[in-house]
């Protein structure tokens, strides 16, 4: 009897656990679906951007320019002069991230930047994928991603933090994205603008460090056809 009782408890627990996990999976997929749907409303946009690069061995002034986006993930950025754009994520869209075969897992609920977010882990099923694991902090209230952290095979981890205006609009686009990534400092080839005199000086900056790029978006013009000529021109 005692044994049987024990068994049934274990069974119940097992069933309960199984149910819970199924519920979570559903939950994660649903949450992601909501984000995708919300973002799918944006077909194209034009916006002004300010790009601020913060890497300890790079000094570049803040740049102002324009960004054009078009579905499914085409991005063009134009600034006067020269600018450095984060290699990953500039063309980030939820659609793109989840286009492949992946497994999404619900992790937990978490307060992030003053908002309640649902934390979801996304693991690509293909071994060939460079991404090992992505973690998303999703604001289910607005169906937007608040934060994204990705670990890759080749380039370490990078993260994107999205800031949204308080006012909720139809097209809920961030007014600022903070990119954070690993950057390796190789010995810079002295090359043409080589600095012979300082060659002897010991390089004090660490070889590996984090870099951030802050992009501030202003004056979104969404689905007004502004970006279409830019990409037409490009495809030509």
């Amino acid at each position: 009897m005692k044994k049987h009782f024990r068994f049934s408890i274990l069974l119940v627990l097992a069933i309960l656990t199984f149910k819970a996990s199924v519920a979570q999976e559903k939950n994660a997929a649903l949450i992601l679906e909501g984000v995708k749907k919300k973002f799918a409303l944006v077909n194209e946009y034009e916006a002004s951007v300010k790009i601020k690069v913060d890497v300890n061995f790079v000094k570049i002034p803040e740049k102002s320019g324009k960004i054009w986006y078009m579905q499914p993930g085409k991005v063009v950025v134009k600034t006067p002069g020269f600018s450095l754009l984060p290699k990953r994520g500039m063309n980030f869209t939820p659609n793109q991230l989840f286009s492949g075969d992946y497994t999404a897992l619900y992790a937990r609920e978490e307060q992030y930047a003053g908002v309640t977010t649902q934390v979801i882990k996304v693991i690509p099923n293909s071994d060939a994928d460079d991404i090992i694991l992505s973690t998303l902090w999703i604001d289910t209230q607005r169906n937007v991603i608040r934060k994204l952290e990705t670990t890759t095979k080749s380039e370490g981890t990078f993260s994107m933090q999205f800031r949204f205006p308080a006012e909720i609009k139809t097209y809920d686009l961030p007014d600022q994205i903070l990119f954070n990534f690993d950057i390796r400092k190789n010995e810079l080839p002295l090359g043409l603008t080589g600095d012979f005199e300082n060659q002897g000086n010991k390089d004090k900056t660490p070889k590996n460090s984090r870099g951030t790029v802050t992009i501030t978006y202003l004056n979104y013009l969404v689905n007004q056809g502004k970006a279409i000529p830019v990409f037409q021109k490009k495809s030509k």
């Binding site: 950025v77 020269f82 290699k87 190789n186 810079l188 090359g191 600095d195 002897g200």
Partner: protein
């Protein structure tokens, strides 16, 4: 005094050797510019390899400003030669040509004459640097346009287009002080010599040796490094940093000016008591 300077300048600019420098720069600078125009993109890519891993580049870095910076950096050792060609000859040439006998028997004090020659040498140097700045900038901009300037040191600096020109002009300005120092050195050697080859070779030997000593990172050399004036000649590069270290630039300029005064002082002391035997 002005009339003496004008006479000396007339003499300087009556000679073919004076124009060697202008011609050399007039050929060399466009050559570098055209080469950069054709192949510069590859060089920039190469220099920026590791940034390429983390960033996408937007915009063009190959422009007249970059060409101008590269010209400044590369001609650092060559311009002194072109300057010395004239300034090393200012006194020695008169000795070699025997013209001191007509020059120093005029009712002009040696000190005044020496000063006029020295000032003329500085004016020649300034003209050469101005010429270099003029074609480096104007021709470079004509060929490649303007744009942001990238400078790769331990840190990669990218300067906005509207923040570059003053830096380049300041760099040329500082470069002029450095070249005046070279001119003064050769002028000093010139005061001891009876032929102009000696001071030219001696000046170049000193400059090249000093640069080599500065470049080799041995403890013995590190000790003497602050005493080598060539060490301060490269400080024009400090204008290409943010924030600009004005204290260091002023200190370098001060060191160079102190050397100019020292070199002239030695030349003056020597020339004043010199017996003209040629």
């Amino acid at each position: 005094m002005f009339s003496l300077i004008r006479i000396e300048l007339y003499k300087i600019f009556s000679r073919i050797r004076t124009f060697i420098g202008f011609i050399a720069i007039g050929l060399l600078v466009p050559l570098i510019q055209v080469a950069l125009f054709i192949d510069g993109e590859t060089y920039i890519e190469f220099s920026l390899q590791n940034l390429k891993e983390a960033f996408d580049f937007q915009g063009n870095l190959l422009n007249g400003y970059l060409a101008c910076y590269i010209i400044l950096a590369t001609l650092y050792v060559h311009i002194p030669f072109l300057i010395t060609l004239v300034t090393g000859d200012l006194l020695a040439g008169e000795a070699a040509g025997g013209t001191f006998r007509v020059l120093l028997t005029r009712p002009v004090s040696r000190t005044k004459l020496l000063f006029a020659k020295f000032i003329s040498g500085l004016i020649y140097t300034a003209a050469l640097i101005f010429w270099m700045a003029l074609i480096s900038l104007l021709l470079g901009i004509a060929i490649m346009g303007t744009g942001d300037l990238i400078v790769i040191k331990n840190t990669v600096y990218i300067f906005a287009e509207d923040d570059v020109l003053w830096r380049l002009l300041a760099a040329f300005g500082f470069g002029l002080i450095a070249m005046w120092c070279v001119a003064s050195l050769s002028f000093m050697f010139s005061s001891f010599a009876d032929n102009s080859i000696g001071p030219i070779i001696l000046t170049m030997t000193v400059i090249i040796s000093f640069i080599v000593i500065s470049a080799i990172d041995l403890s013995l050399f590190r000790v003497v490094k602050p005493f080598l004036f060539t060490n301060y000649m490269g400080s024009w590069k400090l204008f290409f940093e943010t924030p600009v270290n004005y204290d260091k630039i002023l200190m370098s300029a001060g060191a160079l000016i102190a050397h100019i005064i020292l070199f002239f002082g030695i030349a003056w002391y020597n020339f004043k008591k010199k017996d003209i035997l040629t």
